[in-house]
Symmetry: C2
Subunit: 225 residues, 2 copies
């Protein structure tokens, strides 16, 4: 990879390549051409070749790509050779759902702790991991080291708790709260704003379907019922 | 809005504007300049003006924007004047967490039904809404009309169930399954790929922190413990 700057658009697409290659690998596919991969992923073959050229190309075009090799190389680029110690702060419904999700662990994201301010949850466990009170966070982070904090608190609490976590040394934030975290530049924040995602959906539905006249769109007959 | 095509990048930013304006509105702020909004949102003022010019500008620059008016207009563009009938298919941890989330309802996304294949969940309720078996879906959609289906099934099941829902008339898909739905072009799909989001996070953490030498980065001392 060297020191070349890779655009965030390319980086943003890598996890999707990784997912498709993982599926192909499970199906026992050994080689795949950029053309075949293009058809499955519904992106152009030239896009795929361009994206991969950022990382040296990953193999000879004439022969297609070696699936296993490509999967492993993209995994390395994504930093998946490392294990990440994760905590979840906010043990409400969403926090509990994330904590119950074992699929992340197989990718190297290891849930080490779950935290909340509600004393009723104290010492409840999820997959054997006890829910602890947030005042234990400084000590926990100092002792265990935490790479990623999933923030699933109400939005009012999210900024403050994230700032505290940053001060304790956490740099990775997986933010599900309906607010932006205001953190120093070296914090890495990945936002999962559920409400915003729903609004992009309503925008497209509204403008593709409900904005048009009824007779242009038989689908609306169903929807109007 | 007329017939002008608005870029998806602009659309993608509208929910965030809407969120900030909602917060300002709750704080009782009546007017805000693009400069002030720019500082709060950490985007440039010229970006804000450019984005808003796609929709006629929303008011006079010298006087700043009327917060209430801007909030309402962006809400209209996002289709939030309409109510959307939503179902959730897949009543596992994540599906239940989404079903318990009342914040969406206040924006007009009304949960009408929850579906699963697990008979143990049959007739359990979440917020008074019974979990029904998926074989009830065709009748339910025909009778009630469904605008949006949240897909929280395992990835193996997601494509098939989405294809069925499309056939029954659903056009909006909020996809949490770790796979791409393969649907006809007029389906609107908003993906929330949790695993991909985590990988973007690991990419940045790995390349910003763990890839560097220890002595360049005092933070790693904490992380190594």
């Amino acid at each position: 990879m060297g020191d070349k700057e890779i655009s965030s658009a390319v980086i943003g697409r890598l996890p999707r390549y990784y997912r498709y290659l993982g599926e192909l690998r499970e199906q026992g596919v050994v080689r795949i051409s950029s053309q075949e991969l293009s058809e499955q992923m519904k992106v152009t073959a030239s896009q795929i070749r361009q994206d991969f050229n950022n990382f040296g190309g990953f193999g000879q075009q004439g022969y297609g790509y070696n699936v296993e090799y490509l999967y492993e190389e993209i995994g390395k680029i994504l930093g998946l050779t490392k294990k990440y110690r994760m905590i979840i702060v906010g043990a409400g419904h969403l926090g509990q759902a994330l904590a119950n999700h074992t699929g992340f662990e197989s990718r190297g994201f290891i849930l080490k702790g779950i935290f909340d301010i509600n004393p009723k949850l104290d010492q409840m466990t999820i997959r054997g991991i006890p829910i602890q009170m947030t005042e234990k966070l400084p000590e926990f982070i100092k002792e265990q080291g935490v790479d990623i904090a999933g923030i699933t608190t109400p939005s009012e609490a999210a900024r403050e708790i994230a700032t505290q976590l940053y001060q304790y040394g956490v740099r990775g934030f997986w933010n599900f709260a309906n607010t932006d975290l205001h953190l120093p530049e070296d914090a890495v924040v990945e936002n999962m704003h559920l409400a915003e995602s729903l609004m992009r959906l309503s925008y497209s539905l509204y403008n593709n379907f409900y904005h048009k006249k009824l007779d242009e769109n038989p689908f609306l007959e169903v929807m109007k019922k």
